[in-house]
Amino acid sequence: MRHHHVLHVVAKMVIPLILLFALYVQFHGDFGPGGGFQAGVIFAAGLILYGLVFGVDRLRRTVPPGVVRGLAAAGGLLYAGVGVAGMVLGGAYLDYGVLLPDPMAGQHLGILLIELGVGVTVAAVMTSLFYCFAG
């Protein structure tokens, strides 16, 4: 698809909006529909669209497969790490109330961090799957 100018121009306009929408879904998940799972998939969809239109090799240079694999593990570790942080601060595993002096603010912080972990892992795994299948 290297010479389809219409596709190139439209993709260049749409991809930033897709990535921005993914971030909105990620961080607005507390107040509306959405969260880490959906945001991760949408973010990966933006990257995959880039790979489909501009070639997988160019996507590979922009987002190296090694980095993607590392991020897949990092998201899960962030989630599990928030649980351990709760234990260190004297609560139960994955009890976010103890993360900050105000329990409700602690819950907000914990949910924000674990949703971020979910989003990073989902986006990275989906991109990795695309690399596997697209060769």
Partner: protein, 175 residues
């Protein structure tokens, strides 16, 4: 009105599923699988399960369609001719289907407020969300806080799926 929409959507689902079984052209079948997911997402919206509908539309209709198309590029577009219909196969399918339908007779009615799922911990979560967690989307507070362990498990299921695909296909490019 909702009854009409539900009937139309479920009928379209059945038609789509029948078409997927019948088609020999795998490219068209993949497209229909995407449409099937989109119809399912519409049904979830009618059930007021917007978070699930969102996931179904993004994963089922979006990413899986792309991944299946990529898999088709590695294999082939046409299904090889299957052997003719077999009486044993039909009997097994009918018996399994009948057993599954018989099993649903024991389940609570659709939308029953006294179903076990609605009288166990769900009221406790819905009452506590605003005072304990303080966020308006009860789905997020259940998913991320009350049921944090389950979601942690889900994340590692996705991670393991990615590792599995990498182990099977990841080295293909280098070899």
């Amino acid at each position: 009105m909702e009854y009409v929409i539900n009937t139309v959507l479920l009928a379209l689902l059945a038609v789509t599923a029948g078409a997927i079984v019948h088609l020999r052209n795998l490219f068209a079948a993949v497209m229909l699988v995407g449409i099937y997911s989109l119809l399912t997402a519409a049904l979830f919206v009618i059930l007021d399960a917007v978070d699930v509908a969102f996931t179904e539309a993004a994963v089922g209709a979006g990413i899986s369609t792309i991944l299946m198309l990529a898999a088709l590029a590695l294999t082939g577009r046409e299904q090889t001719a299957a052997t003719g219909p077999s009486a044993v196969g039909l009997a097994v399918v009918l018996a399994t289907g009948a057993a599954l339908v018989w099993g649903t007779l024991d389940m609570p009615h659709f939308g029953d407020p006294n179903a076990p799922a609605h009288v166990h911990v769900a009221p406790r979560y819905l009452e506590g969300t605003l005072t304990e967690i303080g966020i308006p989307n009860a789905v997020t507070s259940v998913l991320a806080s009350y049921r944090g362990y389950d979601t942690l498990g889900e994340v590692f299921v996705i991670f393991t799926a990615g590792i599995g695909a990498l182990a099977l296909l990841g080295g293909r490019r280098e070899s």
